[in-house]
Point group: C2
DNA sequence: TATCAATTTGCATGCACTGCAAGTTTGTCT
DNA sequence: AGACAAACTTGCAGTGCATGCAAATTGATA
């Protein structure tokens, strides 16, 4: 028994890993805000976190992941919501609650707006965010299709999930252009539009019949 | 030998550029299909098209763009459609016609399905496709907002455009999982869902009021 | 303390991509 | 044709991202 500082479950090793990861993510965000995402090198980030470049890549697969600093818990919470939601709750409502959860969490971290602006201003970051979102969406779609009792290839389930993501992106973009409108309000508006129908006058017959 | 073979408007120079571009795109797609997108190097593509690596990058900013082989004309045609569409045509209908145009064009090239599968199977390609789509969507959103007489930051305009893109992506994904369903049919289904409303039972009051 | 597993690190390597300074081709003007 | 300018291609040098590998360090355990 060599002092065994077993505070909770995690030992010293686990704690250090958390710290290193956090230090890298913090440094990445800070430097990206200071110098612009494109002008930050992995070397600088590693330097700021006082580890080697090689170690950086032991924690993050890409530079951008460190800047995004996504919280893996959010996906788990979302899946949990789908599992525990009351039966009468409609799917888009559930997604809306998920989004609110995430927004609230990010707001509490205080860095929502700065990180959000950074992401929306950098196509590269936006891409990586969407890329990692695609994986999340796949899992959420499966969960939703299951809940709806629809087959795995359900277009509706996939569309609901993906559209929710689209709504968030559109809302962020609009918030960036018109900061006086709250992000929450814009998200609400987008979700309501999706729910009610984006275009009641749509129909597919107004085309040239004679076409090949 | 100056013979000035001025066929139409484009001179020899313009033609050669087209040919080079096409040769690079063809080689990129072929090699990506043969060896998998991740195992193709720019050097191979350039070699196959018989130009230098440096020249490759004069035509495409990223390796992936060459594989995607996007046709810049499609965006111009789409913008044209928005300009010339009859006044009574609803916006999503116009987007639907645009999508049909593009699908028809890709089908006529015969490589729709193979390229489509390749893209859907490679997160990296999908990302680059979405990335270049984001730019297109920005321009289309501006055109649509103008047409609708709404302000530049219009959530509805942006949502219609982005959702159309999402619909296509969802349809491609579904087609990949269930190839017996036609891509056109799946696109139609997704558009109809968006038009009518994705979730008629959505509302935002079913939440815990007491929540912080 | 001895030992094993996890982690960090340096080193070498391959590939993507860019700027620059040639060289080459093409269009144009006389 | 001959000369000139603009466009296009190319090689080269250089930066940065990312990965594999093996040696060194550190943490947990007996």
């Amino acid at each position: 028994m060599i002092q065994t500082e077993n505070d909770a479950a995690p030992g010293r090793r686990e704690r250090k890993k958390r710290e290193t990861r956090q230090a890298l993510a913090d440094a990445a965000l800070r430097l990206a805000l200071e110098k612009g995402p494109d002008n930050v090198t992995v070397e600088e980030i590693a330097e700021a976190a006082d580890v080697s470049v090689r170690t950086f890549f032991n924690y993050f697969p890409h530079k951008e992941h460190a800047i995004l600093g996504r919280n893996p818990e959010h996906l788990e919470l979302a899946l949990e919501r789908f599992r525990t939601a009351p039966a009468e709750q409609s799917p888009l409502t559930t997604m809306w609650l998920v989004v609110r959860d995430v927004l609230r969490d990010l707001e509490s971290e205080g860095e929502l707006s700065r990180r959000g602006e950074l992401i929306m201003a950098s196509p590269d970051l936006l891409y990586h965010l969407m890329l990692s979102s695609i994986e999340d969406e796949r899992r959420l779609t499966v969960a939703l299709a299951e809940r709806l009792g629809e087959p795995a290839g359900s277009v509706r389930a996939a569309l609901i999930i993906s559209s929710a993501g689209t709504a968030c992106r559109v809302a962020m973009e609009a918030h960036k252009q018109a900061p006086e409108r709250s992000l929450r309000g814009l998200v609400d508006e987008a979700f309501q539009l999706l729910a009610d129908g984006i275009d009641p006058r749509f129909h597919r017959n107004r085309t040239q019949k004679g076409q090949a």
